[in-house]
Symmetry: C2
Subunit: 145 residues, 2 copies
Amino acid sequence: MDDPILSSAAYLLFKAGHYVHLEIEKGLAELDLSPREMLVLSFVDHHAGLSQQELSERLGLDPTIVVGLVDGLEARDLLTRSKDPGDRRRNVLALTTAGAALRKQAVVSFEALQANFLEPLSATDRDRLRRLLAEVLEPRVPWLR
Amino acid sequence: MDDPILSSAAYLLFKAGHYVHLEIEKGLAELDLSPREMLVLSFVDHHAGLSQQELSERLGLDPTIVVGLVDGLEARDLLTRSKDPGDRRRNVLALTTAGAALRKQAVVSFEALQANFLEPLSATDRDRLRRLLAEVLEPRVPWLR
DNA sequence: TATTGTTATACTCTATAACTATA
DNA sequence: TATAGTTATAGAGTATAACAATA
């Protein structure tokens, strides 16, 4: 493989991102969750009282996409929407008990899927990869730090 | 950032793949090329006489997508379609002089965009990242090796 | 009967703009 | 007048199935 593009870090990054998304998506289907739904559950759990706006910024999703995601999760009683008393334009999102339980399952599943994806790498190399990616993303997505 | 998902290698991989694609796409627009069109030009150049079928397999693109890509590149006289004399069902693709020239430009542009994307990393770390990604992808995309 | 390339079409995904309710 | 959330809709991107030409 001497192709300067197909063997480049950029192309491999793109491909790896695509494959890992596919595998996580397929695995999470057993819990009836899309990767994005898992992200929302996880994010709500770790950032209590955040608004949909903040969520859409942090996850890089269009606000209109978030509406649909929250609709679906609310209909399944996995989270609740409530008006922020301090600013009634804003929705405050919170996980229900069922939502918190499902999120826990999702994290377990996610980590198993990730371990399977990274299986060719040693534990040291997995962490090395994670840190390299974090370094590259840091200037673009500051709140990931 | 203690979120087990948002700080995971898998999520960072997904995000990084997304961002690098965006930046390459934006940069290549100056040459009126999409990332995929660049891939096709590069691949045809490095694998003389390959069919559209082979191209779609190697690039992970649906054959019907390849038809459209080749249509566009042929209309711009960047490559030629010709029937394989040994098997007249197959199209043999080849770059024109203009196509080869544009590909060269695209590679230069691509490498500058990639360097900019990986700017936070040292040369050693860029190569380390590339090798880690190649290792992870190897069992999934054997022909990348 | 199988395979390559092609077309047409239906489906999904996404963003845009317009609306409401609050501030 | 500006902002958070919502809705409706149009556009892009994709895959599916059916087709023609060749093996």
